[in-house]
């Protein structure tokens, strides 16, 4: 079975500061990892995904994530956040032979001026 743990339910940060949103997963098979963002009253939007190859993945809006197999982590980072980055962020996993995404419980990023 697969599972995703997002360790922080809320992350407050000041504008222009760096941020890291943590994600750990468990899976008995090789994995594919995703980060989605959900703005208020909107659907989820894909930020980035790791399928294979380079462990550092760059996504939209200046976000990047690093796949660490030994630590079973896929943390999301941004060097300088903006007010507009305030949203809910979800980490998700699926694996070879599976089709459905398993989501974490989400991290609410609150960017303060």
């Amino acid at each position: 079975a697969q599972s995703v743990t997002q360790l922080d339910s809320q992350v407050p940060v000041f504008e222009e500061a760096p941020v890291e949103l943590r994600c750990n997963y468990s899976s008995s098979v090789s994995v594919y990892l995703f980060w989605y963002v959900q703005y208020p009253n909107q659907g989820l939007q894909l930020l980035l995904k790791y399928l294979s190859g380079s462990t550092l993945v760059k996504g939209i809006n200046g976000f990047e994530a690093e796949f660490n197999k030994s630590q079973t982590s896929f943390h999301l980072r941004k060097p300088s956040v903006h007010i507009s980055d305030t949203a809910e962020y979800f980490c998700a996993v699926t694996g070879a032979g599976r089709r459905a995404l398993t989501f974490g419980s989400g991290t609410r990023l609150q960017v303060q001026p």
Binding site: V4, Y32, Y36, N41, Q42, G43, L44, Q45, L46, K49, L51, F90, A92, T94, G95, A96, R98, R99, A100, L101, F103, G104, S105, G106
Partner: protein, 117 residues
Amino acid sequence: EAGVAQSPRYKIIEKRQSVAFWCNPISGHATLYWYQQILGQGPKLLIQFQNNGVVDDSQLPKDRFSAERLKGVDSTLKIQPAKLEDSAVYLCASSSTGSGGPTDTQYFGPGTRLTVL
């Protein structure tokens, strides 16, 4: 390109009533998903269609939930009868290729927020 459309956006019903949600995926997308997102949790897959066939409905409470995909395009999700614990946001997503595999990007609609009183 138009996104995934869902209606209604909000619905309030009393327990034991019936309710239906509608989803129109992105044109040409073969795979369609329904997710349930309970407040404070991540989305959970209810059912996945590939064209008009069911690929995965292992987490669909079949005693009260049903879904169909008409002619491999639009889809409806029905709850009959509703329970208090069904209060959630119901998200529809679609992806482009017929494989529905992990490399397909899923595009999500805005969701339908259901409140059961």
